[in-house]
């Protein structure tokens, strides 16, 4: 290999020997190069003929529906299932998969707009949530119903109380297990008073405010009677909205709803006897009922809608949350809010 280092000294030699290789040219590499080039041309032609035939065969083959392989039904007549699990909130993150009620409302709108979706089942297993986010889902259902005239069926899992029931009241039919915990029709606004604790640890907070109610709900002092009255008025108003929604959805007089809506919880069977639930059964029962309401028969095809990227990021997020940062930030965030929520869960 070391002999290669001497190469630059050689160029003078071939110049002197030039006539000899030129004389040997016709029978040398040129012939082989031409044969190789010819073979290359032939193989190229053969390759492109094969490629062309393969392309034609591929085009004539019926297309495989990837959605079928992925388990996403693309049936013409299907019932879509929208899961509503856990506490309902708007979400304080700008991550699309963490937008809570906004994401659910968007999903309802998207699924209702799909031609193949004939009915929508809301699979609810939630103790409720903040007033604004619950109403966002409720409004999305009403809007979708008005625009598409498709039936909505609510199915209750383990718990569907307070805000969970508020959402369900917009549906045409409610199906619950006999043992489902439901009801808790009412509003709650919880404020912690840490004044004593803060005094013990020597923390003092001062609020400079533009109006006397600006720091309403503050954890560092006792609530005044004026503030209590103001909050009670707010809660009464939200309660009236809840009662009105249930009354309209269940076609029940307001007075009767108010009798049932003192915040108490019911089992599915008790709720059924009181007219808060239409049918006792499981998810399959709800799907059958949705199929019948949509006139596509029992045991309809089920369509679940999910964005693959959102699912991936959501999965990664769930895994990474195991480090505890998210749980910690949520635990620390104890700011009071107006909620349609049952806290016994």
């Amino acid at each position: 290999m070391e002999e290669q280092n001497n190469i630059p000294e050689q160029p003078a030699q071939p110049a002197q020997q030039q006539p000899a290789p030129l004389a040997a040219k016709p029978a040398g590499a040129a012939l082989w190069l031409k044969i190789i080039a010819g073979l290359y041309a032939v193989s190229l032609v053969a390759a492109f003929v094969v490629i062309g035939k393969a392309d034609v065969a591929k085009k004539s083959k019926p297309k495989v529906d990837l959605s079928e392989i992925a388990g996403i039904s693309s049936a013409k007549n299907a019932v879509a299932v929208v899961p509503i699990y856990g506490a309902i909130s708007q979400g304080s993150s700008n991550r699309s998969w963490e937008r809570g009620s906004q994401q659910i409302a968007k999903r309802i709108k998207t699924l209702a707009a799909k031609k193949e979706v004939k009915a929508i089942v809301l699979d609810i297993n939630s103790p409720g949530g903040s007033v604004g986010s619950v109403q966002e889902i409720y409004d999305a259902i009403l809007r979708a119903k008005a625009e598409t005239h498709k039936p909505f069926v609510a199915r209750f899992g383990e718990v569907s109380a307070s805000g969970g029931y508020y959402v369900a009241s917009a549906c045409d039919l409610i199906v619950a297990h006999p043992g489902t915990i439901t009801g808790s029709i009412g509003v709650i606004f919880s404020v912690s008073n840490l004044e004593g604790l803060m005094k013990k640890v020597g923390v003092k907070t001062d609020a400079i405010k533009s109006g006397k109610f600006k720091d309403i709900g503050s954890m560092s002092r006792e609530m005044t009677s004026e503030e209590r009255k103001l909050l009670q008025d707010m809660i009464d108003d939200s309660y009236e909205q809840f009662v009105a929604a249930v009354s309209a959805g269940r076609r029940m007089p307001v007075e009767k709803v108010k009798e049932l809506a003192d915040g108490r919880i019911y089992t599915g069977r008790q709720a059924s006897m009181n007219g808060l639930v239409d049918k006792l059964g499981d998810l399959q029962e709800a799907l059958d009922a949705a199929g019948e309401l949509a006139k596509i028969g029992k045991n309809p095809k089920v369509l679940t809608d999910s964005d693959p990227f959102e699912s991936l990021f959501s999965l990664m997020d769930t895994k990474l949350s195991l480090f505890g940062s998210k749980a910690l930030s949520e635990a620390v965030d104890a700011s009071p809010s107006l909620e349609y929520r049952w806290y016994g869960h």
């Binding site: 290669q4 630059p8 050689q10 071939p14 290359y40 053969a46 094969v50």
Partner: protein, 181 residues
């Protein structure tokens, strides 16, 4: 001079590559080599259904091959210059084009892969090794260096790209984790 004569001249008198004057027709032959090699690679990839059909698709592959080889020849020449060796980057780029003619072998090899004689990826690797070997020989002709240094010089840009890719991957994963948390 037609490309056959240029190639013949290069095969029979490879030392002419490092001569005082650039061998006649080297530019045309080098570019033809890139085109022929890329066509072979394109046919191989089409047979493996790895690239979409069409002339535009071929042009993209050719553009990529030309850009990559331009970069590789530049890096090799820079390495040689920094280590005190004299040579010509333009000639190196065109000589690499001649070496790329071995890419034409990929067409029959693709047929062999399709009939089950070895795996297509193995054939591709074998052909890539052949091209790299030819490149090392050409670097030895163009620069007065030892074989070890020629091998190092040829592999250097590949290693640099590989290291960059790896670093980018690590950074992307770190960024993704930071983004999600």
């Amino acid at each position: 001079m037609n490309p056959f004569s240029t190639l013949e001249n290069l095969i029979e008198r490879p030392e002419s590559l490092a001569g005082a004057e650039r061998p006649e027709g080297l530019g045309r032959t080098g570019l033809l080599g890139y085109a022929a090699g890329t066509l072979g690679l394109f046919a191989f990839m089409r047979l493996s259904e790895a690239v979409p059909p069409g002339f535009l698709s071929f042009c993209v592959v050719l553009g990529f091959v030309l850009a990559a080889n331009f970069f590789f020849a530049g890096v090799i020449h820079l390495f040689m210059s920094l280590t005190g060796e004299k040579g010509d980057a333009g000639r190196l780029f065109l000589a690499f084009g001649c070496a790329d003619m071995f890419g034409a072998l990929l067409v029959p090899l693709a047929f062999l892969a399709r009939v089950g004689v070895l795996n297509g990826f193995l054939w591709l690797c074998a052909c890539a090794l052949l091209v790299l070997y030819a490149r090392v020989r050409l670097v030895l002709r163009l620069y007065p260096v030892s074989a070890n240094k020629a091998v190092l010089a040829v592999w250097l840009p590949y290693m640099a790209v590989g290291a960059l890719f790896f670093a980018a991957m690590v950074y992307s994963i770190a960024w993704l984790v930071w983004l999600v948390i």
